[in-house]
């Protein structure tokens, strides 16, 4: 007993001593001049190499180019979302951003409570009233929405066309009509990716089959690379050559499987080529960074206003990567075909579904 008491005493003494250490360059809470931006991440959190990191990059750009000071909060459970937003709003941030549709209710409520603060929600869900008319968000809340189905349509067409080839880059493949998809959580938002992808596949190859699987039914499904690898391996073994993932960091497992099987995967949200060079056919990119930067810039310019901002193929809000790194994987004939498909979608000649049939 005495030993334990002694131990507590020693530890407390060490603790008190350490309290007086102040390392060089320790930061204080940002206040005062300049733009203060607060961002609350989705539960997938930073480091998912796609969605949340996209928002982070946008904020980073704003720090560099606009001199904004940015504070990040990573919530733990459901009640932390509102708590995080409230923390930032109460500190007098100029703009508070919630990353993910799950923030919809919390942002709407906070925007009403803090009418002097600007708010923005990435993927914010917009509801419709009983007559089917869109209910606008509060005047200080911007909904940053993306037409994921359009980008998914294009990578779907690409996946189907590439699957027919017997040689891609410097590897040989058995042509196939089975096209793969790995989703994260089984929810309408991800079904939108699948619906666009499926429509893209079937548009260029009506007798192809899309093998679509989901990693799970909880938010965990967005951060389970082991499960992603398992699903992807089984798809590749069943003859699939190309898999598109919309699964957050679960997709890192899909890339692992592509590398192990010598097959191809399509990244999502951000350019994920570096995760498995040579095995990433392309990435369906969602300009979360550009949208976040744009919102911050508007606040600085004083042109920010609430409402719905939609980013699609037409304005480059969604798209796919075609650059020096993956040019060798995409034959010119296919690239030409994709460009004409893109024009047709932008012109509205090809309607792209947002829901699974």
């Amino acid at each position: 007993m005495r030993k334990l008491l002694f131990g507590v005493g020693v530890l407390l003494a060490v603790h008190v001593a350490l309290l007086f250490v102040r390392p060089e360059g320790a930061s204080a809470i940002p206040t005062g001049e300049g733009l203060d931006i607060g961002i609350v991440f989705d539960m997938g959190g930073r480091g998912d190499k796609s969605f949340n990191d996209g928002a982070y990059r946008g904020a980073e750009l704003a720090m560099r180019d606009l001199g904004a000071r940015v504070r990040f909060v990573e919530p733990g459970d459901g009640s932390d979302r509102e708590a995080g937003l409230r923390l930032l709003a109460a500190e007098g941030m100029d703009l508070v951003i919630g990353v993910g549709f799950i923030f919809t209710d919390d942002l709407t409520q906070l925007a009403r409570e803090y009418p002097q603060t600007d708010f923005a929600g990435v993927d914010l869900a917009v509801s419709t009233d009983s007559a089917g008319a869109v209910i606008q968000p509060p005047p200080n809340l911007a909904a940053l929405k993306f037409r994921e189905e359009q980008g998914s349509f294009l990578v779907g067409a690409l996946a189907a066309l590439v699957s027919r080839e017997s040689r891609i880059g410097d590897r040989n493949y058995t042509p196939t009509r089975r096209i793969g998809f790995v989703g994260g959580m089984d929810i309408p938002l991800i079904h939108k990716f699948e619906a666009g992808y499926r429509a893209g596949v079937l548009h260029v190859c009506p007798d192809c089959t899309v093998v679509a699987q989901y990693a799970g039914v909880t938010p965990e499904a967005f951060r389970n690379p082991g499960r992603g690898k398992e699903l992807a391996l089984s798809q590749y073994q069943s003859g699939v050559n190309v898999i598109f993932h919309a699964a957050g960091s679960t997709g890192l497992g899909v890339f692992e499987a592509a590398r192990a099987s010598g097959k191809l995967a399509i990244g999502v949200d951000a350019d994920q080529y570096e995760e498995a060079p040579g095995y990433i056919l392309t990435s369906m990119v969602k300009g979360v960074d550009a949208a976040v930067f744009d919102a911050i810039k508007r606040v600085q310019d004083g042109t920010f206003h609430g409402g719905i901002y939609e980013f699609g193929l037409a304005d480059g809000g969604v798209g796919y990567i075609y650059d020096d790194a993956n040019r060798a994987l995409i034959p010119d004939s296919i690239r030409t075909r994709l460009l004409s498909l893109q024009d047709s979608i932008v012109a509205g000649r090809i309607p792209v579904p947002t829901e699974r049939r």
Partner: protein, 371 residues
């Protein structure tokens, strides 16, 4: 340590030794948690320094953001309410010698039951009738999920660890299907709002708690903890339950029907976990939302371990973990949230190694290494 070993057995919740004086007992109960906290504080200091920040600044923010103002305190109480339920759920099963790893799905089922029954009830129903009904629905929801592993264990000897873990997946998948395919409000992952009657928030009584999620569910949960204490230590059934937990064969020889005790313990355990669902569903958001309690079922295991499976200990441990969790948000600007996760782990490890049984095993292991 030799002089202390006798007093240590008298730690909270353990049988009281004949010679343990009042002061010794108090010291034995208080010193291990103090030790764990002090250790966590020092580890926290070192981590903060490793991130290049000043410990004093970070701890100041942590205290200010939790116990420093009414809002922070409300958030702590809110989180502690949920954790008390999942902690008590694990504790009562543990007292019967069972490891209930299913808190995660039991609390979800409880919240789902309350949320679904809630929006089905007519808005005209008086709140005094609706609220107790919904609380019962939450307990029933969790209780049903808890009953399955209990009954399987009693009837077929199925390992409750495996059954509860597997049930987590099954139940969460079913709830997800029900909500995302049928019951959800379009473009969201939650059910329609409850119209009939909800539990008031603290902010409804005092504007200093404005914005905080804290609500009167905490009173219901404290009452449930008191009731559990009475059941465990003052009733014959509670005595049977503890006897089965200590030595099932001896209990059976003494005339206890072990199987029905197991089933009963798991039903109570599930019901208490399910009760935790009301905190979010009836008290905070007034609807059931997918993943509203993600992680709290598992954190409840740690809460029960640190609280020594005693209702009072569980409530204190829940307050501690809630403080760390809310404090993690407050210091997020300076250090990553994971720092708080590390502190939680330090507290758990330090507490677990101060349990007499674990120490005995550790000492035996050390002797084995030496010889």
């Amino acid at each position: 340590m030799s002089s202390g070993s006798e007093a240590e057995v008298t730690a909270i919740g353990s049988p009281v030794g004949p010679s343990g004086g009042r002061r010794d007992r108090l010291a034995a109960a208080l010193l291990p948690p103090l030790m764990a906290l002090a250790l966590a504080a020092v580890v926290g200091d070192l981590l903060i320094l490793a991130f290049g920040e000043a410990p004093r600044e970070v701890y100041r923010l942590l205290i200010e953001g939790t116990w420093g103002n009414a809002y922070g305190l409300g958030q702590v109480l809110y989180k502690a309410t949920t954790l008390t339920c999942t902690g008590l759920a694990f504790a009562i099963a543990a007292r019967a010698g069972l490891f209930n790893i299913g808190g995660e799905s039991q609390i979800a089922a409880g919240g789902f039951a309350a949320g679904t029954v809630g929006f089905l009830l007519p808005a005209a129903m008086p709140a005094l009738l609706a609220v107790p009904l919904l609380v019962l629905a939450a307990m029933a929801g969790g209780g049903v999920v808890g009953a399955v592993p209990g009954a399987l264990k009693a009837r077929f000897g199925a390992n409750e660890v495996i059954v509860t873990i597997m049930l987590n997946f099954i139940v969460l998948a079913l709830l997800n299907y029900a909500v995302s395919s049928h019951l959800h409000v379009p473009e969201t992952l939650h059910t329609p709002e409850i119209a009939a009657g909800v539990i008031p928030r603290l902010a409804d009584f005092s504007s200093t708690f404005r914005g905080s999620a804290a609500n009167l569910s905490m009173l219901i949960v404290v009452a449930a903890a008191a009731l559990l204490w009475w059941y465990l230590f003052r009733t014959r059934r509670g005595y049977e339950l503890r006897a089965v937990g200590l030595q099932p064969d001896a209990a059976e020889y003494g005339g206890v029907r072990v199987g029905s005790v197991w089933t009963r313990a798991m039903i109570i355990s599930g019901a208490v976990a399910g009760l935790g669902g009301i905190n979010y569903v009836l008290g905070y958001k007034h609807y059931y939302e997918e993943g509203f309690a993600t992680g709290s079922g598992f954190l409840g295991i740690a809460v029960a371990l640190v609280g020594r499976n005693h209702p009072v200990g569980v409530m204190l441990a829940a307050l501690l973990f809630a403080t760390l969790s809310q404090g993690g948000l407050a210091v997020n600007a300076l250090v990553p949230k994971q720092m708080v996760d590390v502190l939680q782990a330090v507290v758990i490890l330090a507490m677990v190694t101060s349990v007499p049984e674990v120490q005995r095993v550790l000492r035996a292991g050390l002797r084995g290494v030496r010889s």
